[in-house]
């Protein structure tokens, strides 16, 4: 659940207001910091972190937990802005950020085969 809006970084651009798929944020007034107005509608999708141009948002990975660590700990964790960097969100389209993506299907399938072999071994042993 959305848990931290770093006011000292926020520029009041309202990109989170505009892009949140469940309208969790509302504008905070001219040039102001947006307000987390509807936290119960948050679906823990992290897309506001991708939308924020200055890495001022942090989503708690627990869908029902709106608490955040103290600011210093949060910044030290390296997690603020991390998913945007991992996505290569602001990189040029030819930067190769999806060069591993073709492996998704084969890895899914390989995992199923591993689980299937394991299950049959487990059953045979019982």
């Amino acid at each position: 659940m959305i848990a931290a809006l770093l006011a000292e970084r926020c520029t009041g651009c309202n990109a989170c207001v505009e892009q949140c798929p469940t309208r969790v944020f509302e504008p905070g007034g001219p040039g102001g910091v947006p307000v987390i107005a509807a936290p119960d509608a948050c679906q823990t999708c992290y897309l506001c972190e991708l939308a924020c141009p200055v890495d001022a948002l942090w989503v708690n990975p627990d869908a029902h937990d709106a608490t955040a660590p103290p600011l210093a700990d949060l910044l030290a964790s390296g997690q603020v802005g991390r998913v945007k960097r991992d996505h290569g969100w602001d990189a040029p389209l030819d930067a190769g950020q999806l060069d591993a993506y073709r492996l998704l299907g084969p890895l899914l399938g390989e995992g199923v085969e591993i689980a299937d072999r394991h299950y049959h071994r487990l059953i045979a042993a019982r």
Partner: protein, 529 residues
């Protein structure tokens, strides 16, 4: 409803903001139509595609005959080869057109890998394409009800703007419902806004539903939040005391989920990913950054530490049912009203099975393009006229009895349990389906008889609750009526497949729900009210 202060006109109105909505809007605009998109969320982040990673059924022409043969064999007699050919053709031609806006990666052989795309980047690209095509995209503008003229043709919709709280009315020559499936607020990532709104609006206009018994699917995730499932397919499962559970693999389909469900009903189930594919840990972050975040931010090494899991219901999203299509244009049988993507029944290409991600995404793209082109043709002739129109919304907007506050949260819990409760969903049988239907009828009456909300968010939420109740009743009634096991419609009390029931089931009705077998051909379907 008060007089709508914001009034607009278009040739084509698209309701929804996910991939089917975007492809529908693009096809309509390319055909010359003036297009408005209204989305409950925001096009680009709305819906399950935006948080997902949709593979597409992306088959070169020389591979189509074999792909068709395989898919026809899997769909248990309910799909149609002609639709499969159209879907493969449209997907093959149009998916590569996102290239100027999407960072296609390498296929490892010097080319681009096209068939699988990552959700956030894909939906960002589709939004940019829509805006570039001159389509008016109104985010956070949920539609609440359709409008019809004196002949019953749909001529637009009404809704409200979440930002201002103001009502809007849009008159359109044709309207496309691309509102997605319904996950019944299960917590499935990306599905919060997918509450069956389009299905309810379609039914109020006289459209029918089909395939609603094929309505349950699942994804496994950590207990604290729904994620993508890539890391979990090789999981081993343990009880808290360290004893291992024997869970058949995903190859076992329903039996896999039944075994997990039985264990979850008894207590905590821990997943152990230590046997995951050797190549996975190094690339997981590159493929699914958000899945990594769900663990890293809790200080959990997902490949070394066991963690509790849950099953998240996917309702009609990965399930197949939706608005019945009456013709080859994705028309609903109601003049001026079209349906696309998860909002429409996917039986035409997926039959009795889910279809899997690849067929489902191809369906969303292709049905969007088909509906968009047809709606442009129809809508340009009709135009967005300003003549008299009736507002069609009932439950949640215009109570049949005395209006009073209705608490939506407990009703939503009742609805979600009736559909996704592990004890109900994984062991469907006549007695539990009857119990679910009884509970759902009560939830429906609570909203339809008394529900009225004043504030904008309350109105949207009440209407969503009505839509979830309606959708759940159609799912449950159809599951009760299909007296056999076919595909993902599994009946514990009727485990055999009955060749005599190899036909689609239509379901409809609001105050009273009914079912009947579909005629073999989809044309000439009469509206039954």
């Amino acid at each position: 409803m008060s007089t709508a202060p914001l009034t607009l006109r278009a040739d084509v109105l698209v309701i929804g903001g996910g991939m089917a909505a975007a492809w529908a809007a693009l096809a309509a605009a390319e055909a010359g139509a003036a297009v408005i998109v209204v989305d409950k969320g925001a096009m680009g982040t709305s819906g399950v595609t935006a948080t997902g990673g949709p593979g597409h059924w992306f088959v070169p022409p020389e591979g189509r005959a074999a792909a068709l043969e395989r898919q026809v064999a899997r769909t248990q007699g309910l799909a149609e080869a002609a639709w499969m050919e159209r879907v493969m053709d449209l997907t093959w031609r149009h998916l590569p057109t996102i290239a100027p806006w999407y960072p296609f990666g390498s296929d490892g052989q010097g080319g681009r890998y096209i068939q699988g795309v990552r959700g956030p980047e894909y939906m960002r690209a589709l939004r940019r394409m829509c805006v570039g095509a001159g389509i008016a995209v109104l985010d956070h503008h949920p539609a609440l009800e359709l409008l019809a003229d004196g002949d019953g043709a749909v001529v637009g919709a009404r809704g409200l703007a979440l930002g201002s709280g103001e009502d809007w009315e849009i008159r359109a020559g044709a309207t496309i419902l691309a509102t997605g499936g319904c996950a019944f607020r299960s917590g499935l990532i990306g599905s919060h806004t997918q509450t069956g709104d389009g299905l309810l609006m379609a039914a109020e206009a006289g459209a029918l539903l089909s395939g609603m018994e094929f309505s349950i699917s699942w994804s496994l995730s950590p207990a604290w939040a729904s994620t993508r499932t890539l890391p979990f397919t090789a999981a081993r499962f343990f009880r808290e005391d360290g004893s291992e559970l024997a869970i058949p693999s995903l190859k076992a389909g329903h039996a896999h989920y039944q075994a997990l469900g039985a264990a979850l009903l008894q207590g905590t189930v821990l997943a152990d990913l230590s046997a995951a594919p050797a190549g996975l840990p190094a690339v997981l972050r590159q493929i699914q950054p958000l899945t990594v975040a769900a663990f890293e931010r809790r200080g959990i090494d997902l490949f070394r530490q066991r963690f509790p899991v849950r099953l998240f219901g996917e309702g009609t999203i990965r399930g197949t049912g939706g608005i019945a299509l009456a013709d080859a244009d994705c028309g609903t049988g109601v003049p001026g009203l079209y349906a696309a993507g998860d909002a429409a029944t996917r039986e035409l290409v997926a039959g009795a099975i889910s279809g899997g991600g690849a067929v489902n995404s191809a369906w969303a793209l292709a049905s969007g393009r088909i509906a968009g082109a047809a709606a442009a043709h129809y809508g340009a002739a009709k135009g967005g006229r300003a003549g008299p129109a009736r507002a069609l919304g009932k439950a949640g907007l215009r109570p049949r009895g005395s209006a009073r506050p209705v608490a939506t949260a407990p009703l939503q819990q009742t609805i979600e349990h009736a559909i996704h409760g592990l004890d109900r969903a994984l062991w469907r049988r006549a007695s539990t389906l009857a119990a679910s239907l009884h509970e759902l009828d009560e939830a429906w009456r609570a909203v339809a008889d008394h529900g009225l909300a004043a504030d904008p968010r309350g109105r949207v939420e009440l209407r969503a609750t009505a839509a979830m109740a309606a959708t759940a009743r159609w799912c449950t009634a159809a599951a009760a009526e299909r007296r056999e096991t076919r595909g993902i419609a599994v009946r514990t009390d009727l485990p055999a497949t009955d060749p005599a029931q190899a036909r689609r089931l239509l379901v409809g009705g609001l105050d009273k729900v009914w079912t009947r077998p579909a005629a073999p051909a989809l044309r000439g379907l009469e509206a039954v009210l």
